[in-house]
Symmetry: D2
Subunit: 354 residues, 4 copies
C-alpha cells in the first residue's frame, strides 16, 4: 500500500504520551513515512496539537492537525505501518491482535520482546534477526510484530556488539544511572528524586540482563540462540531528564588492550550506516577521551543524528588483562525507543519488508 | 593535659569549611571534648559565628564566639587534640609538622592515609590498627597522626568488614553515586551537575580501590599487611547534597547465601558499640528489605546517631553462588569524615591514647 | 472523653499520605494527644507501619502498629479529635458530615476555609476567631469544624499580622517559589520540575489572595469581616522539596522605616507563645540580616520547634516611604499544614474547646 | 577593513568562558562576521578547541583551530569588531582602553552600561540610541563602545517596550527566578542551589531597576533621558540551567485590558525584524495562552532563532483596571548576552557603523 507522495502512511499509537510525541516529532519530515493516524486515550476526538503539552519538540503542522483516534484496529484505517509505544498492559493484548489482523507493528513496549516469534532489533546490532518474522508467517499472522529493546538494553547491546564480534565475552557487570524520562509521564514523582537516587526500577534489571543476549545471539533459520555470556545489572534512577548512563565492567576469555576496545567502538558501522538510512548516525558509537565524559546533559545529543549515537568514555583496564571498564551514555527516548524503532522501520522499508 | 571540666581541649582546623562546621557542630555538647580553637584562612581574626554560613547545623554559642585563628602551631595553644579536615595540599605539609611538634592530630585529609606509619582507622573496622602509632614514636614524633579514610572508602570498608571476617573475598566491583558535599565547598559548580551526572572524580577511584584493603589488612607489630582481595571502582557524581550510594558486586571463594550476608551485616557490632562510645550508633550497619532502598534523602540520617550508620539494601545473589550484590548508603561528611574521626578520637580517649 | 493517661485520643485521616505522616510523626510523643486511629484508602486493614514509605520522619512504635481504617465515622470510634489532611474532593463532603455527627475536626483541606461558619485559624494570628464556632452550634452541629489555611497563606498571614497590627496595609504584591511537597504525593512529576519552574499552581493564587484577609479580619460576635487591604499573588513551583519562599512588596497608608518592620516581626509573640503551647516556637518569626537569606534548605527548620517559625530576610524599602519589601520562608507541611493544625488543637485544648 | 570573503573579522574576548563559547558558536557560520581571534586567560597559547569543555554547542572547525590569545590590544590584530563578555573587573579598564585605541567593542559586561557616553542597546527596543556614539567621537575615541544590558534587564526591556509605546507606565514590580548560567562558570556552587532557592544576586536588583529605564528613555541629540516610571526588583536564583523567568506586576496611568497587552506583545516587531537581520527572530515576543507557561526548560528555545524570543504568558488583570500581571521567559545567555550583542552588531553593520 504505497501512499500518496510515495511515502508510507503510518500510525503512531499512544501518540500523546512522552515517547509518542518523540515519534511524531522525528517523523515530522521523514523521507519514507508520513504520520496519518495518531491514537490516544483521554484525548480521543481532540486535535492532536491540543492534546500534547509539547516538550520543546518540533512537530509538523500536518501532524498537529490530526484528530486523536482510539487505539483500535478500526481507527487505524489502511496504514502501512504502526509504531507502538503503548503501555505494557495494553501492548500485551493489542499488539498481537493488530499483527494477526494484518497490521505491520513495530513496538518499543516490553511484553513480546523475549517471544521467540518476535525479532528484537537494534538495526546496527542484529539486522539479520528480522528473519525471525518467517515464524510469524508460519503461525498465520497476516501482519507482523517487531520489537525494540528496553531503553537501557538498547545502548548496552549497541556498545557490546563490536566487542562481542571480536572478543569472547564472559561477564558484563553493569551499573546504570537512568533518567526520569525512562519512566514515561507522569512517571517518577519529584518528591522521590529531588536530592535523591533510587537504586531500583521495577522489572528493569531482568530486561537488561536478558535482552542483549537475545540480540547478540545467533540466528539459525528463524530461531535465535542467545549469546552465552552473562550480564549482571544494578540499576539506579537519578535526577536527569534524558540520557541513560551505564558503567560497565567487562570480562572476556582473551587478554585485550583498552585501546583495542576504543578502536573497535569508534570504527564500528552497522548496516544502517552502510545503507545510509535517514535516521542512521554517521557514527553509531562516539568514543571520547575527554576527562569525565560522557555526561547526560552535554553528550546526549552528540553526533550527526541527535540522540542516535551512544557516547563512550573512560575506557580502561579492569583488574586484570582479561577485563575492562567503560562508561556509556545513550539517549533513552531516542536511541532507546522512538529513534531505534524508526531506524528499524527504515531498514525494513529498504529491505522490502513493509 | 586535662582541661577544666574534665573535658579535653580540642582544635578544629579549617573549621570554617563545610566539614569543619560538621566537626564543630558534632562537638558542640560532647562529653569528652570541648572545642577551644578553630582555625581558618580568609576569616582569621573574625568571630567564628560570623565566618560560617551555617548549613542548618546546630553549633554551641561557646563555639560561635571563638575567634578564628590561623592554621599554625603557635595559634593552637595547648590543645589536647587536633581535628584536621584541611585541604589536601595544606594537610600534606602541615599535619606531619604538627605531629612532630607534639600535637595529636586526627585527620580526614588524604595525603598520609597510605603512609605505613599512619594508622587508617574506621573504629568498627580496625581499632587494633592504632598499634601502628608505635612506629611514629620510633621515628621520634612527639605527637601523633591518625587518619580517617576517604568518604567512599569509609562506608565500603565498614560494610565489607563483617563479610571479610566470615568469607574469603576475591573481588569487589563497586559503582558509586556520590553527593556534591563530598567535593567540599564551593566544590562542584551547579552548571556541572544540574540535569547531569559526572562519571569521574579526580583521584577518587584509586583511594576507593586501596584504602579498604589497608583497613581490612592484618596488623603484625606495627606493620599492616593489606587484605589480598581486589577492588574495582567506577565513581559518579550525582545531584544529591549528602549521602554516598555504592552498588557492589562481590565475589568470594566460597558459596554463600544472600540471607547470610544480610544477617552478618545486621548483627555486626564493633568495638565502639561494645565500649558504648558517645558517637557510636547502636547498629553500625542497618539492613533494609524495603523495595528501592537505601535512598540518600530518606536514609542518610537513619539510626541512633544520625549519619553514623550505613544502610544496606537490595542484598541478592550475583551471577553464581559465589557472588552477591548489594547497595549501601553512607553519609559522606559524617560517617565519611567528621563522625568517623570523632569516633576514632573517642576510642583513643578511652584507650588512653590521648 | 478523656482517654487513659490523661491524653486525648485523636484520629488522623489520610494518615498514609505525605502530610498525614507529618501529623502522626509530630504527635508521636505529644503531651496532650495520642494517635489511636489512622485512616487511609488503599491500605485499609494493613499495619500503618507497612503502609508508609517514611520520609525520614520519626514515628512512634505505638502508631506504627495501628491498623489502617477506612475514612468513615464508624471507623473512628470514640476519638476526642480528628485531624484531617483529606484530599479536597473527599474533604468537601466528609468533613461537615463528621462535624455534624459529633466529631471535632480540624482540617487543612481547602473546601471549607472560606465558609462563614468555619473559623480559619493560625493560632498566632487570630486565636479569637474560634468564636466563629458559636455559629456552628447555632446550626445544630454536635461536633465542630476548624480550618487551617493554605500552606502559602499560613506563612503570609503570620508575617503580615504584626505589620497589620501597627500599620494600615493597602496592598501586598506577593510572588512565591513553592516546594513540590506542597502538591502532596505523587504530586508534581519530576519531568515537570527538573531544570524547570512552573509559574502556575491550580487555584493557589485565589487562596493566597483571600485567606489572609479572612484571618486578619475583625470578629464581631461570630462573624468575621475580612481585612480591607488587597493581595496580588503570582505563584511558582520550583525544584525544592520543602519550604515555601514568598517575596513581598508591601504598600501602606503611612510612611514607615524598614527597621521598624524588622523590629515588629522579630519581637512578635502570639497567644501560643504566651500560653507556652507545646508546638509553639519561642519566636514565631525569625528575622535575619544575613545576605541572601532566608533559603529553603538552610532555614526551613530554624527555631525552637523545627518548621514552625517563619524566617524573614531582605527587609528593605520599596519605591517610596510608604512601601517595603521582604522575603519570607515558611515550612509548607509543618507551619503550612500539620504543625499549624496541631497548634490550633493545643490552643483549643487549653481553652477547653475539646 | 573588509576581510576576505566579504565578512568582517571579529575577536571574541574571554572566549573560553561560558558566554564566550555561546558567541563563538553563534558566529560559527554567520553571514556578516567571521571569528579570527579568541582570547582567554589560563589557556593562552593553546588551541581553542582544547580549551573549551563544550556545552553541547556547535562550534566551527575553523574556530576550534584558533590559538587562544591574551586579552591585550596587541593580540587582537586588525579585527573589525570585538565582542566582549569580559568579567566585570577586567572589562572596566580594558574596554575603554580598546575603544580609545580604535577598536569597535560591543560588550555585555556591566561596568559601562550606565555611562552617558555609552549606548545601552537591545536592537528591538532602542536602535536609535546608537546616536549616543556621537559623544564618544567628541571625546576623541578612535573606536567605539556599545553595551548590551544585564541578562534580566534585556528580557524585561524587550517586553516592556510595546507596552511603554502605548501606555504610560507608572510602576513595574518584578520578581525573578534566574538560571545558574547567569552567574557564569563556575558560578553558583551546587551545594548552594540543590533543593534550594537564593533570594539574592549581588548587584542584580540595581541593574534591573535602572537599565530598562535608560533603554526606554528618549534620545535628544546624543543624550538619553531615562524613562520616568519606576521598577522594583526582587531577584531569586533557582536550580535551572538556562532561562530567566520574570513575573511582573505592572501599573499604568490609564485603564487597559489584558487582551490589549497580549495583542501589543504578540504583534510587536522591531527594526531587526524589519531589516531581516540574521539573528532576528520573526517574533521577538511570543505570547502563549497555555496553562502554566512559559517554563524555562520547555520554552527557552522557542521561536525561529532559538533563544532570541521572549515568551510571555499568564497575562491577566492586576488589582484594578490600571494594573496587570504577566510572566516572561528570556534566555539569559542568548537574548540576555551573546545573541543580543550579535544582533546589535548586525544592526550596526547594516547601518554602516562598523
Amino acid at each position: 500500500v504505497k501512499s500518496s507522495g510515495g511515502k508510507l502512511d503510518v500510525a503512531v499509537l499512544a501518540a500523546t504520551g512522552m515517547v509518542g510525541q518523540r515519534y511524531v516529532s522525528m517523523l515530522s519530515s521523514h523521507p519514507y513515512f508520513r504520520v496519518t493516524r495518531v491514537t490516544g486515550q483521554s484525548s480521543v476526538g481532540k486535535r492532536y496539537g491540543d492534546s500534547v503539552s509539547g516538550y520543546g519538540l518540533h512537530i509538523s503542522d500536518e501532524a498537529l492537525d490530526l484528530e486523536v483516534q482510539g487505539t483500535r484496529p478500526e481507527s487505524l484505517g489502511e496504514v502501512d505501518l504502526v509504531f507502538s509505544p503503548l503501555p505494557t498492559d495494553i501492548a500485551k493484548t493489542v499488539e498481537p491482535k493488530l499483527a494477526r489482523a494484518g497490521f505491520k507493528v513495530i513496538t518499543d513496549a516490553s511484553p513480546h520482546r523475549m517471544d521467540r516469534h518476535v525479532p528484537l532489533i537494534v538495526p546496527e546490532v542484529n539486522p539479520g534477526h528480522l528473519g525471525v518474522l518467517a515464524s510469524q508467517r508460519k503461525d498465520g499472522w497476516k501482519g507482523l510484530l517487531v520489537s525494540t529493546p528496553n531503553c537501557t538494553a538498547a545502548g548496552l547491546a549497541l556498545v557490546l556488539k563490536p566487542i562481542h564480534d571480536k572478543l569472547t565475552l564472559r561477564r558484563v557487570i553493569v551499573s546504570t544511572l537512568q533518567a526520569v524520562s525512562g519512566a514515561g509521564y507522569p512517571g517518577v514523582p519529584s518528591l522521590d528524586i529531588l536530592d535523591n537516587v533510587i537504586p531500583y526500577i521495577k522489572d528493569e534489571e531482568e530486561k537488561v540482563e536478558t535482552e542483549p543476549l537475545k540480540m547478540l545471539g545467533a540466528l539459525d533459520g528463524s530461531v535465535v540462540t542467545p549469546a552465552r555470556f552473562e550480564i549482571s545489572a544494578m540499576v539506579h534512577r537519578v535526577a536527569t531528564t534524558d540520557g541513560h548512563l551505564e558503567s560497565l565492567y567487562i570480562e572476556t576469555e582473551e587478554d585485550f588492550e583498552p585501546e583495542e576496545v576504543a578502536r573497535l567502538l569508534s570504527t564500528f558501522k552497522g548496516e544502517p550506516q552502510k545503507l545510509g538510512l535517514p535516521t542512521a548516525p554517521l557514527q553509531p558509537i562516539i568514543v571520547t577521551a575527554a576527562e569525565g565524559r560522557p555526561q547526560p546533559r552535554l553528550d546526549r545529543y552528540a553526533g550527526s543524528v541527535p540522540g542516535m549515537s551512544a557516547v563512550v568514555g573512560r575506557i580502561r583496564r579492569g583488574l586484570d588483562r582479561k577485563s575492562g571498564r567503560l562508561t556509556l551514555l545513550s539517549h533513552n527516548t531516542i536511541r532507546g525507543a522512538a529513534g531505534s524503532t524508526i531506524l528499524t522501520a527504515e531498514l525494513m522499508y529498504r529491505k522490502g519488508l513493509l
